[in-house]
Symmetry: C2
């Protein structure tokens, strides 16, 4: 498992299928949850630390989009892509709530890569990025497609 | 197109296929972009307003997760679900960048609904939420599955 911070800049050719990256942990405080929720997801089960009994979430929890935002921060730390981490989207799932005081970390794995057919010098990589809490339980699973530069031009085809 | 704010609380039975909701516009300033990016996506094409020439993004742009966060805020305004807006995840795509000064709005449409097989009184709704800029160009397309309560128990089956 690699953790970035080596000064290396990664290209498509560096992203072998199965290569893994990690970052974190980061602690999410009740103040963090309130600051994000007030701005972006002002629902009582995120903005009120005394909330109880929500039929799905139970007690006070972080917005899923807050977890996604913290995950993005960790992805930028884990994955030193030469063009930065630029994605076109992906699939996201939140299998369980994030609670105040949880510490989150990510594990990322390269699932698939390819070269762009229309843009020479450009490729893509599909990664699964799992965000885990302090009990190693997944709180978010993101499968994302990132745009990555190629170090070398595509081999000529005859 | 409906815009929330009626005091109504919506249940599964209210979410007819094709029913549409809207919210916004909200303006995204350069300060908004910097505040979010500094905290969650500290890459130069988000944190430096003078950035130019990124091969994919061009100039200064908002983090896609910032767009997702603003979209969540608008979803909470548009969609007065009885349990609040609680989702298990979805698919997200960012077809073009968001720039400082853009104004964003959402259009949401109910695609599909169903009752939970395992939890009586609970159902789900799949919605497409499109985030558009001031030129009516989509900057984000989210297809999300929300958990929604039923107003009435399921009809007895013989």
């Amino acid at each position: 498992m690699e953790t970035g911070g080596t000064g290396q800049r990664l290209f498509l050719e560096d992203l072998a299928i199965g290569r893994r990256f990690a970052a974190g942990p980061v602690r999410i405080s009740v103040e963090d949850i309130l600051a994000y929720a007030t701005r972006f997801d002002p629902q009582p089960f995120h903005t009120d630390p005394t909330t109880t009994g929500h039929p799905v979430l139970g007690g006070h929890s972080a917005s899923g989009w807050h977890t996604a935002s913290l995950t993005m921060r960790m992805i930028t730390e884990a994955l030193p892509l030469a063009w930065g981490v630029v994605g076109g989207g992906g699939e996201i799932a939140w299998p369980r709530p994030v609670r105040p005081g949880d510490t989150l970390r990510i594990e990322a794995e390269v699932l698939e890569t390819g070269r762009s057919r229309s843009r020479p010098g450009q490729g893509w990589a599909r990664l699964r990025v799992t965000t885990l809490n302090q009990r190693d339980e997944p709180v978010q699973v993101l499968v994302t497609r990132l745009i990555v530069p190629c170090r070398l031009p595509a081999p000529a085809t005859s």
